[in-house]
Amino acid sequence: MANSIGNSSAPPPGAAILDIQGLTKFFGGLRAVNDFSLTIHRGELIGLIGPNGAGKTTVFNLITGLYTPSSGDIRFLGQSIAGLEPFEITQRGIARTFQNIRLFPNLTVLDNVRIAYHFHAGYNLFDAILRNGKFGSQEKELTERAQDFLAIFKLERVQDELAVNLPYGEQRRVEIARALASNPRLLLLDEPAAGMNPNEILNLMELIGFIRERFDLTILLIEHQMRVVMGICERITVMDFGEVIARGTPNEIQNNERVIEAYLGKGVD
């Protein structure tokens, strides 16, 4: 079914990093996502768009394990991750940001980022309680790495601020920095440009391009700002009412009738 929609562009290089087949999610009688399929190859930057309520964020929540799929399979690096706990999925290398920013509001910016190191902190509870050498060296190292991330995102000067006190744009950056600190292979960005002005959006697009190169990332992006999606995504998947209605390059999507129909409604003959 998936192949019948849109014109698939030539398969990009790199192995499949994420392979979703026939993903379906029911909420009671509501079919939020229906037979969703998507393959992402290593190094790609894929856009996922669609009108409000199309099921994009549900797809994200299914991939990251916040929801359990009703049917279908999600394979990450060749292994099925459907039904795993969210923290296990993160530990396997999928990080995400949230549509409405979800920082740890009453913790400092530095601690927000350092939390992402918890599962690969390199020391355990007893090292921490005994304050042994292992704790000292590992804690120092992870703190420095977290500070590196803050420096990359120009946040080093606010490291001791509480996250809740930061302006919106900086909170977005903290969230991305935090996601990157968990050392992901695949990054899911849920509307990163929401609430940003045109200048900020421009900066964000450059930032996404930069981290993708710098950390060898594969990125899946939900976005409503067409500038962002059309500007940086190589391939785009369009959803409406929980189904994929089109796939293709930005150009193909812009001229796809079903997409225009989904966004603007059907024209009167």
């Binding site: 704790f135 500070q147 900066n203």
Partner: protein, 462 residues
């Protein structure tokens, strides 16, 4: 006399808070020697105040000692509760139950040792907590190999494992005791273990075992219950406190412990708690908690309070994290209970009624959720003010007047909530308890890869 007492009490409250401040400051000192000497000095100052006599009475009398010891046990219990509620965000009313559990368990061991001259209770508890702990760890490793094990199945497995461990412990403990007792003796029986030193060791072992015992019970209880939301968890823990209290009241009828004497109260517990042990155990709790909070595990604990969904997305096993916090908090309560039992020498179920169970909660809220300093200061202040100052002052106004303090302090709490909802000290920490400052990385030498940062890395900054 009244004025003198009032002044003396105020001086004592200020002094004990000053002592606490000094202790925490000196513990934060960079030099190891200053630290050690400072801690010994902090211990010694109070020890001397107990022993040094001016005229015919010591600077701190038995009444003050009682206040101080109770304040310290309250601090241990309340720190544990703050860990669970203030740092991890799980509203719990079960802390008092674990406190009682620890008190009774430790008291039973030393009671049997000192009065019945047998080591059976010690060995049963010791073997029991070790076996149950090992069982839990082994089962946990075993279960971690499987995905999506239902909580109740896991719970059943743990429960069966612990019951089996307890059964083995009862048999093995009694068997060992039947060999040890005639060979080495116990308190007052002729033999190697009859001395006071042995009794001290038994006491410390009993308190430690009681703490671990409370922690293991909290693991079994928390496993199914922590998966509930925070409010429901609060109700369930309240239920736990009531269950424990009911078991205490009926300990001689439905439980096989006639020595606990049910509702009449357990008497004859050797009074072994000295300032030395109170200080040691309080320091243990403070250091463990502080080291825990200012580590990766501590940040994970905080992140669960802040946003569970985001914590999960950061790779944190939220369920295990809550359980771990709950177990450590209960461990502190159990230790506090053991210390308390051997100070007071008499345990009555009334002490552990669920109404009294709100005391640590009040202390934690009063001091500030998520503030270790606040909890410590509030524990001392609460005990010295409420039990020390108010009780005596009101006592001089009439025999029934002290009851007024249960009207006065809820009003104080109410006012505090209205005027300072973050608690007396908010999130302020003193000295040792403060998070170690992290130096910003010198801008002169940016990390090698950060130099490649394009202008893009500064979005929205202009």
């Amino acid at each position: 006399m009244e004025l003198g007492f009032l002044l003396g009490s105020v001086v004592k409250i200020v002094a004990v808070l000053g002592w606490l401040y000094g202790l925490l400051q000196v513990m934060a000192h960079a030099s190891r020697w200053v630290k050690i000497i400072g801690i010994i000095a902090a211990f010694g100052v109070i020890q001397i105040a107990f022993t040094l006599k001016i005229g015919d009475q010591s600077i701190l009398n038995d009444f003050d000692a009682g206040l101080l010891f109770q304040a310290c046990t309250m601090a241990m219990v309340a720190l544990g509760l703050n860990l669970i509620y203030g740092f991890n965000g799980q509203f719990s009313l079960g802390q008092w139950g674990f406190y009682g559990l620890g008190a009774y368990a430790a008291a039973y061991v030393t009671y049997k040792w000192a009065n019945d001259r047998t080591s059976s209770a010690l060995f049963v508890l010791l073997i029991g907590v070790i076996l149950a702990g090992a069982t839990i760890l082994v089962l946990r490793r075993f279960l971690s190999r499987y995905y999506n094990v239902p909580v109740l199945s896991a719970f059943t497995l743990y429960l069966l494992g612990c019951v089996a461990a307890a059964a083995v412990a009862v048999v093995a403990g009694n068997a060992i005791a039947s060999v040890i007792d005639p060979l080495f003796g116990a308190k007052d029986a002729p033999g190697l273990l009859s001395g006071d030193l042995a009794l001290q060791i038994v006491f410390v072992l009993a308190v430690l075992c009681a703490g671990v015992f409370a922690a293991e019970v909290s693991f079994l209880f928390g496993l199914p219950v922590l998966s509930l939301g925070s409010d429901y968890f609060g109700i369930a823990t309240l239920g736990f406190s009531i269950v424990i209290n009911t078991l205490m009241v009926n300990s001689d009828t439905i439980l096989p412990f006639p020595e606990m004497k049910g509702g009449r109260g357990m008497i004859g517990i050797p009074k072994l708690t000295t300032w030395f042990w109170v200080f040691i155990f309080l320091m243990l709790v403070i250091v463990v908690m502080r080291n825990l909070i200012h580590s990766s595990a501590g940040r994970a604990i905080l992140s669960v309070r802040e946003d569970e969904t985001a914590a999960k997305a950061m790779g944190i096993d939220v369920a295990s994290n809550k359980l771990l916090t709950f177990v450590i908090g209960s461990l502190f309560a159990g230790l506090g209970g053991g210390i308390y039992a051997h100070y007071i020498g008499f345990l009555s179920p009334g002490t552990f009624s669920f109404l009294a169970g709100f005391n640590p909660l009040i202390v934690v809220v009063f001091g500030g959720l998520g503030s270790m300093t606040g909890t410590l200061a509030a524990s001392f202040g609460w005990m010295f003010f409420l039990e020390g100052l108010l009780r005596v002052l009101l006592g001089q106004m009439g025999t029934e007047a002290p009851t007024w303090r249960f009207v006065l302090y809820p009003i104080a709490l109410l006012l505090l909530m209205l005027l300072r909802p973050q608690g007396l000290l908010g999130k302020t920490e003193w000295g040792f308890l403060r998070a170690p400052a992290v130096k910003p990385r010198a801008p002169a030498s940016p990390p090698p890869d950060a130099r490649a940062t394009p202008a893009a890395a500064a979005p929205a900054a202009k």
